[in-house]
């Protein structure tokens, strides 16, 4: 197998919220705020799933590579 291109297993990291107040106040409707935080949570979940896919691609590539070279399936590649 050729080398797995790094672009295919690039992971994404997010900076945590600092939540530092600026001192300026605005009012916001509760429903609007709720929607903003929900969509934020969903976007973070999408990043997590994308990273899990990188885990899968890496595993598949190296498992198939081992099978092609040795003919044996490594234990870590089996069903779990």
């Amino acid at each position: 197998m050729p080398t797995l291109p790094a672009e295919l297993i690039k992971t994404e990291r997010l900076a945590p919220l600092a939540g530092k107040p600026s001192g300026e106040q605005v009012s916001i409707d509760k429903g609007v705020l709720a929607e903003i935080v929900e969509r934020t949570a969903q976007a973070i979940g999408a990043v997590e799933r994308g990273n899990e896919r990188a885990v899968g691609v890496k595993a598949l590539w190296s498992c198939v590579d081992t099978i092609m070279r040795t003919g044996a399936t490594p234990a870590a590649c089996g069903p779990r």
Binding site: R13, A15, E48, C63
Partner: protein, 137 residues
């Protein structure tokens, strides 16, 4: 007399040449058959090996995609739980303090819940980066 000896000599010579030729071509045929058979056996062996590698790769591909869809489902469930927590935090906002036009938003709870999700996403990235490819969950 001389002619008879000459003819006998020629016949013997012909017989020797014919015998050599027969042995040679017989050996050639047997040798070719042996080489062909060996080649076919080698080819069959390699083909069987490739087929078995292919089957092993298919099985591994299935088990890894199952693993990824389990991780996917866990992540989706975590997002649902987070959204519920965020809603609960907003619902639990107490009424405005006397003198203030609006109650304060629960920014700290919202921030902590969002940060817990961000930590999950970043841990998945760590898993991918540290994995050698075969030994991760």
């Amino acid at each position: 007399m001389n002619r008879v000896r000459l003819i006998i000599g020629a016949v013997i010579l012909l017989a020797i040449v014919a015998a050599v030729w027969m042995i040679r071509s017989g050996g050639e045929r047997a040798g070719a058959a042996k080489v062909t058979q060996a080649g076919e056996q080698q080819r069959a062996g390699r083909l069987a090996e490739a087929r078995s590698d292919e089957r092993a790769a298919t099985a591994v591909s299935a088990s890894i995609s199952q693993r990824v869809s389990r991780a996917d489902a866990l992540s989706t469930a975590a997002v649902q739980a987070t959204i519920k927590d965020l809603r609960d935090a907003l619902d639990a906002v107490p009424p405005a303090v006397a003198g203030d036009p609006f109650p304060a938003a629960p920014v700290e709870r919202l921030r902590d819940q969002i940060n817990a999700s961000i930590a999950r996403a970043n841990r998945a990235a760590d898993d991918a980066d540290t994995a050698s490819g075969t030994d991760q969950d």
